[in-house]
């Protein structure tokens, strides 16, 4: 069993070999070079879903800032990539454009340059885009960014300045696809975006996945059409595409469940849990999380003024406030709730929704006595925390595997499209790597354990969760040994875990499904042992 580091190394090796094989095929070579660059960047998480599902709001909630939607002269791009940067900057179709933040998302101001290049073919635009993109990061050797995606748009959009090892990471995938429709790139200083860059996209899921390593599918309800779309995200697209380890579903109308009562979130969470457990949903995604993007985004940016308003509302006797919380009309009526001005009430409603307002008032009433506490609780109730945990556990922590996965899926296509004799050998290597990559199975088992599709005995469930990397994927975290433990301690723990799970996997105490799960855990133990072995070897030699 090989771990994430080895997967990464071998992926690099495969890509390097592919680059060598294809040195005479410019088209394929460009693609492979783009893939090589992609390996070095942060995880690229696409936020996709039907229109008006709350994608942009959710992006705001995740970033914790009012960035989305991005507009240029009333026009919205087909997809917006948000990545970390030292200073706010934006590119529209590869051309850097001044950006200002408004209450309703970012506004790009078209200048002459933008229009000057709007009509030029993309191929000519690219050099400029690259130059513009690396204005601040020219030292990063980003020439590769330009060559990597022949004539795309936002080449290497100034990402290098953020301390990512000077890799000159660029928006590579955007080039090869050749779609029309505007694409924007926003660099924004944000801790959230450092490891995960978000792509807010209106593209269909399958096309969104061309550019992304993982996808968060946002939809109000998981209907037939959504399931069809999700099915298109996996399927027979090479050995790496069969398991939906890169897909997560967010049900985005949590606050409106059951007419937006105070317990709406709870109901929604229960519904999400039910959905998560359904076999046909489970086969298509890693996790289903109920979330209210509106409440979450507002909670991330809760202002003291707003808290003050909520506090005033909560202080009113229930008999006085409750009739006015019945409907939006009543809440915003000029004569209602005199302690808070009508204007403020309208803005509260716009930002939180009626459900959010009700929730906030209830929370303040039940003891949230400060803006920070209220924001925290609101985030909790809106499902944002759960979503963040899920993203962190299933996506961010596993970014190397997910990145390898998406890169190798593309490489698989390249190898199959551009047939040269050595490609067959590479394909074999690729398939071998897919077969040996244990983390995909780990992730699926983690999802199954989380949703309750597979149940292990209680005392083993926690152990399995930890060993599978549910609590962190470093060896120490997996083994549950303290950071200061010696190598010997780790060895002992690893051997003990191996022994434990070997008994479970090969014994007859478990029914078939948990036994299969135990076998996977056992393989994780083997992987840990390998890792320890490798850690120990350089020290010894």
């Amino acid at each position: 069993m090989i771990d994430d580091e080895e997967v990464e190394q071998r992926t690099h090796r495969l890509l390097a070999e592919a680059a060598h094989v294809y040195r005479g095929v410019p088209q394929a070579a460009a693609l492979v070079r783009a893939l090589l660059e992609r390996m070095d960047g942060p995880l690229r998480l696409a936020v996709a879903g039907p229109a008006r599902a709350g994608k942009s709001t959710l992006v705001n909630a995740l970033v914790g800032d009012g960035l989305a939607p991005v507009e240029l002269g009333g026009e919205r791009p087909e997809s917006v990539t948000y990545r970390d940067g030292t200073a706010p900057r934006a590119w529209w179709n590869g051309t850097e454009t001044p950006v200002t933040q408004t209450a309703d998302g970012l506004r790009l101001t078209p200048d002459n340059r933008h229009f000057g290049y709007a009509d030029t073919p993309r191929g000519e635009e690219a050099p400029d885009g690259t130059v513009a993109g690396h204005g601040s990061a020219a030292h990063n050797g980003t020439g590769r960014g330009r060559t990597g995606h022949g004539g795309t748009g936002h080449g290497g959009t100034g990402h290098g300045g953020t301390g990512h090892g000077g890799t000159g990471h660029g928006g590579t995938g955007h080039g090869g696809t050749g779609h029309s429709g505007a694409r924007a790139v926003v660099a924004w200083p944000s801790r959230v975006l450092r490891r995960t860059e978000l792509i807010d996209t209106g593209l269909p899921l399958r096309r969104a996945l061309d550019d992304a390593d993982a996808v968060l599918y946002v939809t109000p309800q998981l209907g037939e059409a959504d399931l069809r779309a999700l099915r298109s995200a996996t399927g027979p697209r090479g050995p790496w595409a069969t398991e939906p380890v890169h897909v997560m579903v967010a049900l985005s109308r949590a606050d409106a469940t059951g007419g937006g009562r105070v317990d709406a979130m709870l109901t929604a969470r229960q519904a999400a849990r039910r959905t998560r457990r359904e076999p046909r949903t489970a086969a298509l995604c890693q996790d289903v999380v109920a979330v209210s993007p509106l409440v979450a985004a507002a909670a991330r940016t809760l202002t003291p003024d707003e808290f003050q308003a909520f506090a005033v509302l909560a202080a009113l006797p229930r008999s006085e406030s409750e009739p006015h919380l019945l409907s939006t009309d009543r809440f915003t009526a000029a004569t209602a709730l005199p302690p808070v001005g009508a204007q403020r009430r309208v803005s509260l409603l716009q930002r939180y929704g009626l459900g959010g307002v009700r929730l906030a008032v209830t929370l303040v009433r039940t003891g949230c006595d400060g803006p920070a506490v209220l924001a925290e609780r609101l985030q909790e109730h809106s499902g944002l925390k759960e979503l963040q945990t899920s993203i962190a556990g299933f996506f961010t922590a596993r970014r190397s595997v997910l990145r390898a996965r998406s890169v190798l899926t593309v490489l698989d296509q390249v190898l199959r499209t551009h047939r040269v004799p050595p490609a067959g050998q590479l394909l074999t290597g690729l398939e071998l790597l897919a077969a040996e990559t244990h983390e995909v199975r780990e992730l699926r088992l983690l999802a199954a354990l989380r949703s309750g599709r597979v149940t292990l005995p209680r005392e083993h469930a926690v152990d399995a969760h930890r060993l599978l990397g549910g609590a962190g994927i470093s060896v120490g975290e997996r083994l549950g040994v303290p950071p200061e433990a010696t190598a010997d301690d780790s060895w002992t723990a690893a051997l003990a875990a191996s022994e434990r799970w070997r008994t479970l996997a090969h014994g007859h105490t478990l029914s078939p499904a948990p036994r299969r799960a135990a076998e996977i855990v056992l393989r994780s133990c083997d992987m840990i042992a390998n890792r320890l072995d490798r850690l120990a070897t350089p020290a010894g030699s």
């Binding site: 039907p50 229109a51 008006r52 269909p204 899921l205 399958r206 109000p220 309800q221 209907g223 037939e224 059409a225 959504d226 069809r228 779309a229 298109s232 109308r253 409106a256 059951g258 007419g259 937006g260 109901t267 519904a271 039910r274 019945l326 409907s327 939006t328 009309d329 009543r330 409603l349 716009q350 929704g353 009626l354 459900g355």
Partner: protein, 744 residues
């Protein structure tokens, strides 16, 4: 048919037994027994049913009969439809103030019919088939009682016990004044959402396969009204010109996409697994939809068909479309609404959840504007079920007013009152309009086809036959010319050839006799000559035969291909007899012999001169006249003379032989030539006779088919004329009925 339907207006028998009229009479005379003008819509509907039966569209007739039964029913059945989580069930609950429709368990799974009864009750009804009427009577064993208190759980439990996919619906009776007037509310499972992310439609065959068992039985409306929801309503007024003989060109486009619609089923928008509710077939989206909003509308147009099927099965008179007030109407919803409004007048779009939506007023106004812009005749209103329920709980009249429900109730009550009047009239107007347009489509198509068809097949055949006859005539002249030309050529060729060959033989003979002595080698020469002449005769005979066969082929080549194999039999062109024994032998020429006596005599005569000459010369030398020298000179002279003589004799013999051979060869040539000419003539005559016979045969057969073709063409023209007249009559009838329907 149930008992309440039997009345003066009902059929005496089943629809299928209504005797079809040859030309459907569209004129519906008002029945004097009925109130004047009271139920004119029923007359129009009946006439439409009769017409569609007469046009062989029994599925339409059946569909209309079902709708007829519904229209005569005193109840007003209101179908509440909409996407998932739009508040349909809650709307019904709030309307009647009872929690009869489950709202909290992940969407309605089983459609629920809510009606009035003195005492509350609930049962699950299992229908025989997916497209069976919900209003039809079912046996006691198909009615499963449900617990009223825990309706949702009870429904779940009962459904779980039934085999998957069994078509069921729940019937709930509650004592409510609102429902007592005959209002029946039907809650339905959610419609499938828009399919933005999967633009590839499911192939029609797949959809059929899935819904196969459900479509079994009667044809679903989908196939009845394929135009539903796509394209503008065709203006049947165009058919007015059809009656005037102009065949209604313009209106053919009015019902665009019809043909394609009925064939190209796209099941993307079907009602799939909604407990077997009218999922009949979700196809019927055809190429006619190209003007729409692409794949999305294709899916929703499929939804229109499915939804209309559902509405028909449920016996709906009125459709209420529920849409969240939080968002405006989507494009695919508009397509759906347009399709619905074509069949269901009084369509109501309810924007729900106005308590929670912030911008519901703007969305409502936008929705109204869009409906008006798209020409969808639908009423709109906005309600809040939560407020209504709250108001009913707390007895707050003001809150009830805010909920928007009073308007909804008034609207529904108005519709109940208008059920047998205005609503029925409008419904019949639309139904008849759709059906009549649909009926007119094949007729128009026929008219167009006839006009566009150009020359009909029979006439084309006639023309072709005439052309063939002409061809044959030309061919007759042509082959005769060819034959005479060829024969002329052949004659001169054969003579020339014979002459060349005999000349060669002669040359051979002369060469031979230039050296050979005929006296000695005649026996050797004679067989050679005979052999040569024999070969010559044979060669020329063969050549003649070949040339004749070739000529026959050339002539046959002049005939058209359709005449088939016209070559004469080989015996006809072969030379009749070989010339093997026609070469006679040649006797040896008379030979001038040169006997020893003659030789002696001539030798002596020659030696005399020699003796004398040498004797004289030697005598000068003093020798005697006869001396050895003179004797030897005489001998030399004598020998010389003998040799000369014999040579001249040989020459003579050779000349004789040559003359003889020449004469013989000339004879043979003359005979051969004569025979060859005779043979050629014979062959010419045989060929001419043969080809004349062939030509006559051909001509006869072509004349035959010409007569047939003429008769067929005449017949065809008559039939077409008749058909055209009938189609025009039918169209005129349809137009008139349509006008009546539109006037309702």
């Amino acid at each position: 048919m149930t008992n309440w339907e039997t009345g003066p207006t009902a059929y005496a028998g089943p629809v299928s037994l209504v005797p079809p009229l040859p030309v459907p009479s569209s004129r519906t005379e008002p029945d004097p027994l009925r109130g004047a003008g009271g139920l004119l819509w029923l007359d129009v509907l009946d006439a439409t049913i009769r017409t569609s039966a007469a046009h062989g569209r029994t599925e339409m007739a059946e569909w209309l009969s079902r709708r007829r039964a519904q229209l005569l029913h005193p109840q007003l059945r209101v179908l509440v439809v909409g996407g998932a989580q739009q508040g349909k069930s809650q709307l019904i609950n709030a309307l009647i103030n009872a929690g009869v429709c489950g709202v909290d368990n992940g969407g309605t799974a089983v459609p629920t019919v809510v009606r009035h009864a003195e005492s509350p009750g609930a049962e699950l009804v299992r229908r025989g088939a997916a497209d069976a009427d919900w209003t039809a009577e079912v046996g006691r064993q198909d009615r499963l009682p449900l617990g009223l208190e825990t309706l949702g759980a009870s429904i779940m439990e009962s459904t779980a016990r039934l085999p998957a996919g069994t078509p069921v619906h729940a019937e709930v009776s509650v004592p409510r004044a609102l429902l007592a007037g005959g209002l029946v509310l039907i809650d339905t499972p959610p419609l499938p959402g828009p399919d933005e992310h999967a633009p590839t439609p499911v192939p029609g065959t797949g959809a059929r396969a899935v819904h196969g068992p459900l479509t079994h039985g009667t044809t679903t409306i989908n196939s009845v009204i394929p135009t539903l929801g796509v394209g503008g309503p065709g203006n049947l007024g165009g058919a007015g010109s059809a009656s005037a003989g102009n065949a209604g060109t313009g209106s053919a486009g009015g019902v665009g996409g019809v043909g394609a619609g009925s064939t190209g089923g796209v099941g993307a928008g079907g009602v799939g697994s909604t407990g077997g509710v009218g999922a009949g077939s979700a196809g019927g989206v055809g190429a006619g939809n190209t003007g729409g909003a692409g794949a999305g509308s294709a899916g929703s147009a499929g939804g229109v068909a499915g939804l209309t099927d559902l509405a028909t099965c449920a016996g709906a008179d009125l459709v209420v479309y529920v849409c969240e007030g939080e968002r405006g109407l989507r494009d695919d919803e508009l397509v759906l609404l347009r399709g619905l409004s074509r069949v269901y007048p009084g369509l109501l779009v309810v924007f729900s959840k106005t308590d929670y939506a912030v911008d519901w007023r703007r969305n409502l106004a936008e929705g109204r504007a869009r409906l008006a812009r798209e020409g969808v005749p639908a009423a709109t209103t906005a309600v809040s079920s939560a407020l209504r329920l709250h108001a009913l709980r707390s007895g707050d009249a003001a809150l009830n007013g805010e909920s928007g429900f009073p308007e909804l109730v008034v609207y529904l009550q108005r519709m109940v009152a208008a059920k047998s009047g205005e609503l029925a009239r409008k419904t019949v107007g639309r139904l008849s309009g759709i059906v009549l347009q649909e009926l007119a489509v094949p007729l128009r198509k026929e008219l167009t086809e006839q006009r566009d068809a150009g020359v009909p097949e029979a006439v084309a055949r006639l023309h072709a036959t005439q052309r063939r006859l002409d061809d044959l005539r030309k061919c007759a002249v042509r082959w005769q010319n060819t034959l005479s030309d060829e024969i002329g050529d052949l004659m001169s060729d054969i003579e020339h050839d014979l002459r060349e060959r005999t000349r060669a033989v002669l040359a051979g003979a002369e060469e031979y006799f230039a050296t050979a002595d005929p006296a000695k080698s005649w026996d050797e020469f004679e067989p050679w000559l005979r052999q040569s002449l024999q070969e010559l005769a044979e060669t020329s005979t063969n050549w003649l035969a070949e040339r004749t066969a070739w000529t026959a082929q050339r002539v046959a080549g002049q005939f058209p291909a359709e005449a088939g194999e016209v070559l004469p039999p080989p015996a006809l062109v072969a030379a009749e007899d070989a010339l093997d024994d026609t070469v006679p032998g040649l006797g040896a020429p008379p030979v001038a012999r040169f006997s020893p006596g003659q030789k002696l005599f001539i030798g002596l005569r020659g030696s005399y001169g020699g003796v004398v000459v040498f004797g004289l010369m030697t005598s000068l030398a003093g020798m005697s006249m006869i001396n050895p020298i003179s004797v030897s000179g005489g001998a030399i002279f004598g020998g010389k003379t003998i040799r000369d003589e014999s040579r001249s004799l040989l020459k003579k013999r050779q000349a004789d032989a040559k003359v003889l051979v020449g004469r013989h060869v000339d004879d043979v040539f003359a005979r051969l030539n004569k025979e060859a000419r005779d043979t050629v003539r014979r062959a010419q005559r045989a060929l001419r006779d043969h080809f004349t016979a062939v030509t006559e045969d051909l001509q006869e057969s072509i004349m035959d088919s010409l007569r047939n073709a003429k008769a067929a063409a005449d017949q065809d023209a008559a039939a077409r004329e008749q058909r055209l007249r009938r189609v025009q009559q039918e169209l005129a009838a349809l137009t008139e009925l349509h006008t009546q329907a539109q006037a309702l």
